[in-house]
């Protein structure tokens, strides 16, 4: 038996050695792939209308409409959102500054028109869900590649696109995901699908990109869906009326703008 097992291990080793040759790739590592996704050109600023549809396990739906502006300021990304529907939260606005530095928490403010005040929200956890959706702030693109170790598992075709499948394991102990697997489209550097496993290693949810569009050479995800399998809850995000590099002024991303509205 012992002899046999050794033999088996040798075969596995041999196969592992062969993988880089078989895969015929440009010898990219998992980390490089994820970095390419993270640093992919998405313009200097963006504006558009975001529709967020939340669907619970019984099929009840809630729809929120948001006008969203965001802009890169070096290592800081600033984003402001104005709710336009439903009516009772119209003009509520939300400002978020996020930092490339993993050690630094996001700064967040909210303006409630019925209260007439801007309030700062401080939160000690990055694993907060974004407005009751199935996305956390990290899922929305905030997570820096250095926070995980990445490994290219294989390449495969998904929905007609050639994809790298990369496994990412968090460096931080007790992070809300024990593992994620990302299907990254070759040469486009868009994550087409991502599977999330919770801190106990159980399968949690899947993000699927349903549609992406080319805006003057910049690819923008316009329709995605996150399905939390444990709760059977779904969030659909649709992004439209998109304008890239629109020259949004930096005064847009201030408390004053929040209360002044659009």
């Amino acid at each position: 038996m012992l002899h046999k097992r050794f033999k088996f291990r040798n075969i596995i080793l041999l196969l592992l050695l062969l993988i880089p040759f078989m895969s015929n790739a440009q010898d990219l590592t998992g980390k490089e792939i994820i970095e390419k996704v993270y640093y992919r050109d998405d313009g200097d600023d963006r504006r558009g209308k975001l529709t967020m549809i939340l669907v619970n396990s019984r099929g009840d739906k809630r729809v929120r409409e948001i006008k969203q502006f965001d802009k890169d300021f070096g290592a800081t990304e600033k984003k402001i959102m104005f709710f336009t529907a439903p009516a009772d939260i119209r003009e509520t606005s939300f400002l978020n500054w996020s930092y490339d530095d993993p050690a630094k928490d996001d700064d967040q403010w909210i303006y409630l028109p019925a209260l007439g005040k801007v309030k700062r929200i401080s939160s000690d956890s990055k694993d907060d869900y974004f407005m009751g959706s199935d996305f956390t702030y990290d899922d929305l693109g905030d997570r820096h590649p250095d926070e995980d170790t990445h490994k290219l598992l294989r390449t495969e075709t998904l929905e007609g696109e050639e994809c790298y499948v990369v496994e990412s394991l968090p460096k931080e102990e007790g992070y809300m995901y024990s593992k994620t697997e990302t299907w990254v489209i070759k040469d486009k550097w868009i994550g087409l699908q991502k599977k999330f496993y919770d801190e106990d290693g159980d399968y949690l949810k899947t993000l699927k990109v349903k549609e992406y569009k080319d805006y003057d050479g910049i690819l923008v995800i316009t329709h995605s869906q996150m399905h939390n399998a444990q709760k059977d809850h779904k969030t659909i995000m649709k992004y439209k009326d998109i304008e890239l590099n629109a020259g949004i002024g930096s005064n847009y991303f201030t408390e004053r703008m929040m209360s002044r509205g659009l």
Binding site: R62, I89, G174
Partner: protein, 759 residues
């Protein structure tokens, strides 16, 4: 009948082997396929509107019953050890396969939303277990000022904190319960004590303990019955044969159930008890008859004695079995399936007992020979002096008997009005049992272990963001908790909004109220979704904000307390309907209450049906309508007195005790039928009423007395049960037997005496 008797006496062995073969088959079925059903939801009639409503509300708001584990540290919980235990216990529970991770709530998982001068701080109370006394003190302060945690997750005196694991209805098992207990006790040390409580624990333990106790008690009951049977029948052969009839009928009833794939429910475990009580009667009457026959004809052959017995007794045995079965079949009127099954299969068992009495006993006697006549015939033995004395006394005091009977009925009716229904599961346990003690402990420290879900539904979307509605909810909550002493705490969407309003105003207490604007409420809720765990929100309101779930925690689980809370909530119906909001109820506490009412309603329906059918049957059997009514007198007195005594002694009607009326009738009618049949026969042969009475008393009266003594002795054994409902059952069945016996030989005898003509 003659060919039947000939057949039996001719082929005793084949018949015996046939019966044994069928019994063996059913016994194998019973041991191989019996399935115990402990999930109480299986008892509920799923299509009843109250249950349908509750089910849908439970699905909307994810209402589940929670297992509550309390950690007590007498020196206070704010130290690294206790907080560490809370954290690991929370994680351990989430790891159990029966519990979903998101369904565990504790100080470790709770959100701490704090207002500051500039804004809002959303944190957990702790992630890493804090070591420094500063940090511990700051946790203590945040808990104290957080109404959503203080006195809900941490007790007022800060010595106890609870970890709540909500579970689905179908996962509870005794193994799971023991796993939880083991887990809890593994956290105990000299500073920490753990308590496990909650509805699933109580229900699960009850569903397990009741039948287990029955299993232990039934053999003792049988043993006592064997002894008493032997003492009364004074013959080992007849004792064995009588007992065999009972055991065979129990095997056939349970075997048939297993064969048809019908589960055993907690109520089904009362079947052996019923069949034992009813089944021994046939044997006693048969052997009583044979005994008297042999006294008169000491030289009679085995075949003659058997023929005489079957010829004279088949009619009353068949009549009593049919009438008793009718009583049980009428339980089909119940909406509760386990009770339907109980009625149906007990009826089958009774008919099986009749079959065995008329076939197995004669066959057994053919094979093992007739019982030896122990005592030589003496003239004084022919009519027992006691039979004479009783008959004489009754016939001399007819009016007195009548007056006492009427008084008894009067007392019974008076007591019946005091009967109260109890759906409590906890009341079924001993007051000093662990489960009750734990419950009391948690109820003392927290809002209550029983939850009533008040479901509010509005006519339009977004209604539960309206200040008027939310303010009324808040007012009702304060009123219920303030005015009903059993209501310990309440929780609803209003609490979230009050808290958010306070937090957004730098934690100033005067803002701990519902904001005046619909939009502000909407915006607070959006903010809560952004900062807290939105899943918590969907336990109190639905997506469209037109349905809300208002929880009221109650410290007792008995019907009186639940009804007190219900009544207070219902008094708000008018005010809510002005705002176009309806009030309904859901949750296990409420369905248990409805369920108990249903059982009782079914019981009363079946009682009425039984009385009517029995009167009709007796009228047909004896071909006289008046006899139908006379025969119903002892069982009426028994039933009324049974309920009356329960009312007077403050024994609540529950799912167990409610079935007693069926036993009372089932057994009581047997006494009446045997007595009437014998009285009628004697009436044909004699004219002197005292002689008729004495002869009847000597024959049927004697057998009824034996029957009553045997069954009463057997049931008194249940008084030693560890399970209070089984004790009540034992005491009340014994009492009912006694009433039925006395009623039959007194007031019914008087009525028979007054009735001059017999067909």
């Amino acid at each position: 009948m003659k060919t039947f008797i000939n057949f039996i006496t001719k082929y005793p062995w084949p018949i015996l082997l046939g019966i044994l073969a069928v019994t063996a088959f059913l016994f194998i079925e019973m041991s191989a396929n019996s399935r115990m059903e402990t999930d109480l939801d299986e008892y509920m009639p799923q299509d009843h509107p109250a249950f349908v409503y509750s089910d849908s509300a439970e699905a909307i708001f994810n209402i589940k019953d929670g297992i509550i584990i309390a950690i007590e540290n007498k020196d206070g919980i704010y130290n690294p050890q206790t907080l560490g235990k809370i954290k690991t216990l929370t994680k351990d529970l989430g790891q159990m396969k029966q519990i979903e991770k998101g369904d565990v709530t504790s100080l470790y998982t709770a959100d701490n939303i704090i207002g500051t001068e500039t804004g809002l701080d959303v944190t957990s109370f702790y992630e890493e277990v804090p070591e420094s006394s500063d940090k511990l003190e700051s946790i203590r302060q945040s808990v104290r000022t957080n109404e959503m945690v203080y006195e809900r997750i941490v007790s007022e005196d800060e010595t106890v904190s609870v970890v709540i694991a909500e579970i689905n209805d179908d996962v509870f098992s005794m193994e799971f319960y023991h796993e939880i207990l083991d887990l809890a006790s593994s956290y105990e040390d000299e500073d920490h004590k753990l308590y496990v409580a909650g509805t699933p624990i109580v229900e699960g333990t009850m569903a397990y303990l009741g039948p287990k106790d029955m299993k232990k008690m039934v053999p003792i009951v049988i043993l006592v019955i064997i002894i008493v049977l032997y003492v009364t029948l004074r013959n080992i052969k007849t004792t064995i044969l009588t007992l065999s009839v009972v055991i065979l009928s129990v095997i056939w009833a349970f075997g048939l159930m297993a064969w048809l794939g019908i589960s055993i429910y907690a109520v089904t475990t009362m079947m052996p008890v019923m069949l034992i009580a009813i089944g021994v009667a046939d044997g006693i009457h048969l052997f009583n008859h044979m005994h008297l026959y042999l006294q008169e004809h000491p030289e009679a052959s085995r075949k003659d004695a058997i023929s005489d017995m079957v010829r004279n007794m088949w009619k009353p045995v068949a009549m009593t079995s049919v009438t008793t079965s009718v009583g049980f079949v009428s339980l089909l009127a119940s909406e509760v399936y386990p009770i339907k099954y109980f009625g149906l299969f007990t009826a089958f068992g009774v008919m099986a007992a009749m079959f065995f009495s008329l076939v197995f006993i004669p066959v057994g006697l053919m094979i093992f020979n007739k019982p030896k006549q122990v005592k030589a015939k003496r003239e004084s033995e022919k009519h027992h002096p006691l039979a004479h004395k009783i008959s004489k006394w009754v016939l001399q005091h007819k009016i007195l008997v009548l007056v006492i009977s009427v008084l008894t009925i009067g007392i019974g009716i008076y007591g019946t009005q005091k009967v109260w229904i109890n759906s409590s599961f906890l009341d079924k346990f001993e007051d000093d049992s662990d489960i009750v003690q734990t419950d009391n402990f948690i109820n003392k420290k927290f809002g209550g272990t029983t939850t009533l879900n008040v479901i509010l539904s509005a006519d339009r979307k977004g209604a539960f963001k309206d200040p008027e509605i939310l303010k009324l909810m808040s007012k009702m909550q304060k009123d219920v908790v303030g005015s009903v002493k059993e209501a310990g705490n309440s929780f609803s969407l209003a609490d979230y909004l009050e808290r958010m309003n306070k937090v957004m105003h730098a934690d100033k207490e005067e803002y701990n109220r519902i904001p005046d604007s619909h939009n502000l409420n909407a915006q607070y809720l959006l903010l809560y979704e952004m900062s807290g765990d939105p899943d918590n929100l969907w336990e109190v309101v639905n997506y469209d904000y037109n349905k809300a779930n208002l929880n009221i925690q109650i410290k007792e689980d008995d019907s009186k307390s639940l009804k007190a809370v219900l009544d207070e909530v219902k008094s708000y119906r008018g005010e809510f309907s002005k705002l176009n909001v309806d009030i309904n109820f859901a949750g296990s506490g409420y369905t248990a209450l409805v369920f108990t009412d249903l059982i009782l309603e079914g019981q009363i329906k079946s009682l009425v049906i039984t009385f009517i059918i029995i009167i009709v049957l007796l009228s047909l059997m004896f071909r006289q309508v008046s006899i139908g009514f006379i025969g119903a007198v002892p069982i009426s007195i028994t039933a009324v007195l049974s309920f009356g005594v329960m009312g007077l002694l403050n024994i609540p009607l529950s799912t167990t005790t409610a079935l007693l009326a069926s036993i009372a009738i089932g057994i009581g009618i047997d006494y009446a039928v045997h007595f009437i049949e014998r009285y009628r026969i004697n009436h044909k042969q004699h004219t002197d009423s005292l002689h008729i009475a004495t002869a009847t008393m000597n024959h049927s009266g004697r057998a009824i007395l034996f029957n009553a003594v045997v069954v009463i002795a057997g049931f008194l054994v249940l008084l030693f049960s560890v399970f209070p409902p089984n004790r009540a059952l034992g005491a009340l069945v014994s009492f009912n037997m006694f009433t039925a016996f006395v009623g039959t030989i007194t007031i019914m005898l008087v009525l028979l005496h007054w009735k001059k003509k017999f067909k």
